[in-house]
Symmetry: C2
Subunit: 405 residues, 2 copies
């Protein structure tokens, strides 16, 4: 990577597809925006060639520690149930040598070259691995700090109350530096919704941290868990600090019930993270946004023992969100991208995110006529800028992937 | 494009991911397959570098005449109903100057560089355009014959009985050279299922042609139309000659009803074409295949007035079919690709399709470790071969797109 000065003049770029301007970054922040800026001497100038510029893509739900990127093909012969996949993964971690530090670094490089500048990663905490995955991802994010800001969710993937000792490990993870308290299917996996949620909200209160809970539970079971989450969010005054990931229960075909649940999360200020899996009922993003709910997007697992799909490309994720939600009009496709940029920034309460003067100069240049075209065509990223420094060009990271440490 | 001799030696390629061999094409057909073949003199040799080789991708459901590829971005502000999209398109065809010949040629080039060697295209026949779109696609396929074989379905997009005069135009289309009789939602659009189906099956019988009917109708209405199609397939002895495209009714959540309908199409030898839209219930491909039904895949419309998505990449379509059907195991992902290769060949009754000696040398080279990896990673196509001649390299067509005629 070149000199990391954080100073850069981007000439002839179109913010969100609008008229062309120049953007000047100083010390990693947007300092000036306007036509034909004259750069101070000694500032690198890059010709944007009329490309669209958007703020950095935000990966708001992934699992950096699980990916098999760069490890050779994993032949998937796993059983169909959620618990098959959880148990298979715990077994395979040791057998395959899925090193959380190495794998997280690889995925941060991959995400960065696709234009992602901010990542929220759930990271496994369990009684076999302890907090080693947390330590690994923390090491990777320190090494890759020039590429992306990474937030860590302590995630009890194998259950919390059903695996005694996990609660203490969750505390250890938060003590180490995980920023967010995670959770998982309080009914379907942990078999004790009150116990599970009291525990994680208790941690959140004690540590003063946000919550991001995986809720795959469908139908009325999921709706019940969602109600319990909303009750605790209200009781603890945690408006704006709780995210429900997946929330498949919001995809119920019962429109009246969907409206009721959307009303609950809107009133409580609970955010929704969606990966828009094609095979599942999913939260209806247009309805959620219309109700004022913050919706963010994520890749979920990328090429791991759970499944082979994924490339950490949040522009492609915007397309998949668009396809799943049948977003065809340009304004709808723009909404899909907004979920993968500003929505993520709001859910993660990022400071200084955007394309306004004063914001961090976290930028992606896209060769496309309109934002909607960029989403459907997913062009190779012309330029990715993190805090005013170019970190990827024409799809290639300027930081080599750290292959073996 | 280089000399179109149809003679080629492909060195070091792995058929469907198996052990490396050489493939020799003579006069457009596979003549020899084995390790370390010695080419006869004067035959071009290409080093496959250990790439996977698969037979050409088969695009079994698209609309060549509708695409806006190469025409500048179309801002979509269309209403949400099917009929809004049909009427908007009829209006926009003239306003935008969507020339079927030019646009079909562009999409054939695009599909070819993505590895497609066979295309079935539905082509609009209506009382405004008459058979001009049929003529246009016929002109395009003649010009682009070196890239792909194109089969044309005469398609009454705007309705058949509800638009008097269309039936005569369908006959004119078949007289001109359309190979397949199309149809569309006999209840929901044409409002006369018996009349519609008697008409198109009557044409099929009289002309001795296969049928491929769009059936978007959901639920019990769709199931009823499907029953009427099956009855006519049986009555006319058209086993293996009828395809139902979309068949959303097969995606019913009622497992008992789904099994009943799958039994009907399996017994009648009716094929199913799926585009696996993420936002709709879709035919369950694993169940269909297990019941012995031929399932093929398609892109449907590619960047047209109906919606902005699509790139005519049937490898990406295999991924989308995999995502929609939750195909995660390697054998399941391979099934998704099989649908987009052999399934299409079976549905279209292609002669000499495959990787055996004697088959047409229609081939795609993919840099990937396994077939499943190729589907999820969708690498740039290393080489595309049509009838023994290289037609695309590293993602670039060797035939220039015909931009303006």
């Amino acid at each position: 990577m070149g000199a990391m000065t954080g100073d850069l003049l981007l000439h002839n770029v179109r913010p969100r597809g609008g008229p062309p301007v120049d953007l000047l970054a100083r010390d990693g922040r947007l300092a000036e925006i306007g036509p034909d800026l004259s750069p101070p001497a000694a500032i690198e100038t890059v010709d944007g060639g009329g490309a669209i510029v958007i703020p950095g893509l935000v990966e708001a739900h992934t699992h950096l520690d699980k990916t098999l990127l760069g490890m050779g093909w994993y032949r998937n012969e796993v059983g169909p149930r959620l618990i098959d996949r959880i148990e298979n993964e715990r077994r395979e971690k040791g057998r395959l040598g899925i090193d959380p530090a190495r794998q997280s670094a690889r995925m941060i490089v991959q995400a960065s070259r696709m234009g992602t500048t901010h990542i929220r990663s759930h990271v496994d905490v369990d009684t076999e691995m302890g907090v080693r995955a947390i330590e690994g991802v923390m090491a990777a994010r320190a090494r890759m700090a020039a590429l992306a800001d990474v937030e860590i969710v302590a995630f009890p993937q194998s259950g919390l109350l059903i695996r005694p000792g996990t609660a203490a490990l969750m505390e250890a993870a938060l003590d180490l530096g995980a920023e967010v308290v995670g959770g998982l299917d309080p009914c379907a996996i942990d078999r004790d919704p009150k116990g599970h949620l009291d525990l994680i909200f208790g941690l959140a209160e004690r540590y003063g941290r946000p919550v991001d809970i995986h809720l795959h539970e469908p139908g009325t079971m999921g709706a019940f868990s969602l109600e319990l989450i909303v009750e605790r969010t209200r009781a603890l005054g945690m408006t704006g600090k709780v995210t429900i990931s997946h929330a498949f229960c919001l995809g119920t075909p019962d429109a009246h019930e969907a409206d009721r649940l959307i009303g609950l999360v809107a009133d409580a200020g609970v955010h929704i993270a969606t990966t828009a899996p094609a095979s599942r009922p999913v939260p209806p993003v247009k309805k959620l946004r219309a109700a004022g709910v913050v919706v963010c997007g994520g890749s979920d697992g990328v090429r791991d023992t759970w499944g082979p799909y994924g490339n950490a490309d949040m522009l492609e994720r915007a397309m998949l969100i668009g396809l799943k939600n049948d977003l065809r009009r340009d304004d709808e496709v723009e909404l899909a991208l907004d979920i993968c940029t500003r929505g993520g920034a709001e859910a993660m309460a990022l400071d200084g995110y955007g394309l306004e003067v004063g914001c961090h100069a976290d930028l992606v240049l896209l060769d496309a006529e309109t934002v909607a075209e960029a989403v459907v065509a997913r062009p190779t990223r012309r330029l990715v800028v993190k805090r005013g420094t170019v970190v990827a060009k024409n799809g290639h990271s300027l930081l080599e992937p750290a292959a073996d440490h």
